[in-house]
């Protein structure tokens, strides 16, 4: 089955992973800007990263028949440095018209601090000013519930936000309903260890239904499995779910959400 991974950090993966994804049926991916594993020292470091996301990575993906899209921001971890974050936010508009840039992301919270919240609100302003969709990272483990509620408070508190153009990622059993009930898209992230498994993601689909729901691998430089979405497809098939339901979650929904961006030009396989 053709599928789309809406959240994967391919700059951290080797070219063999592109080949594996292609063999598994991956036809498109979107890559949110995130933490590189170390704090970058200047806005120029981010400018180079954004060039990698908008120029280099799409070419690498295209060699395997995969269409590459991306999201730009300074991630929550480095956003603790507010003055650096402001420099990066000021530079982002240089890239917003580049082909394949879908919007602002993955912004969010990490430790749910005041500085992270300030930078989140300033990213929201940037997205509103430039009419961009938003992709949001929610914190992990014990910080997830509080952080997700704080993020929803900030989004809900601004009437200029079009909720149908916002994706809140890394939802789990205790946050998925709040995100969907408030009218946002929700992304489930499948991790091989410690966090959400393909089985629990399938459970969540059964609990809330497939509307406005996406699934991703969030593959990056840490322990992760780039082929986690095919694992979910297999789990749903084993339970007897219809191909149309599976396709909705792993292909139709990402296409529908990405189409909210003016830079989304997708050619389905014929």
């Amino acid at each position: 089955m053709d599928y789309i991974d809406p959240h994967i950090h391919m700059v951290s993966r080797i070219t063999d992973d592109y080949a594996t994804l292609a063999r598994m049926g991956c036809v498109a991916i979107s890559e949110p800007a995130f933490w590189a594993g170390f704090d970058r020292g200047s806005a120029d470091g981010f400018r180079d990263y954004f060039r990698q996301l908008t120029e280099v990575e799409p070419q690498r993906a295209a060699q395997y028949g995969i269409q590459h899209f991306c999201w730009l921001c300074i991630n929550a971890k480095e956003a603790e440095n507010v003055s650096l974050a402001r420099d990066v936010i000021a530079m982002i508009p240089e890239f917003l018209d580049a082909p394949g840039v879908l919007g602002i992301g993955e912004i969010g919270l990490n430790k749910n601090t005041r500085n992270e919240s300030i930078v989140f609100l300033e990213h929201m302003e940037l997205a509103i000013k430039h009419d961009q969709p938003i992709l949001i990272h929610t914190p992990h483990l014990e910080d997830k519930y509080q952080g997700t509620r704080m993020i929803l408070d900030m989004l809900n508190g601004d009437s200029r936000i079009d909720r149908s153009r916002v994706l809140v990622d890394h939802v789990e059993e205790h946050t998925i309903r709040a995100v969907l009930d408030d009218g946002y898209w929700a992304g489930m992230t499948l991790y091989p260890v410690s966090k959400c498994t393909p089985q629990r993601a399938a459970d969540m689909i059964e609990m809330v239904g497939p509307e406005r729901l996406l699934a991703n691998s969030a593959g990056d430089w840490g322990p992760s499995k780039p082929t986690a979405v095919p694992d979910l497809i297999f789990e749903l098939r084993q339970r007897g779910h219809s191909e149309s339901l599976i396709r909705k979650v792993v292909y139709d929904n990402p296409r529908e959400f990405f189409a909210k961006s003016k830079n989304f030009r997708f050619t389905p396989r014929s």
Partner: protein, 84 residues
């Protein structure tokens, strides 16, 4: 939405895996008992005890309740607390 899966097939699939995980929990609790010192005052031990009790609750939504148990508290007036 419900699940099209057959309950007894699911139990076949997951029985050994769940049995193994329960054994891990039981053995870890035994290990804690044998160890020197005492964690009975540690809030994490209390969380684990409450989580184990939650599993015995026949009401659906166990995973969500467990998630909430392991979550930091959220307070609605965080913005005024942070002066934001």
């Amino acid at each position: 939405m419900s699940s099209p899966a057959d309950a007894s097939t699911l139990l076949d699939r997951h029985f050994l895996e769940v049995r193994a995980r329960l054994l891990e929990v039981a053995a870890t609790l035994d290990r804690l008992d044998r160890a020197q010192g005492d964690v009975s005052g540690d809030p994490r031990k209390d969380q684990l005890d409450r989580a184990i009790a939650m599993l015995a609750d026949p009401e659906a939504g166990r995973a969500e309740r467990l998630q909430r148990l392991f979550s930091r508290a959220y307070s609605e007036d965080w913005r005024s607390q942070m002066e934001l």
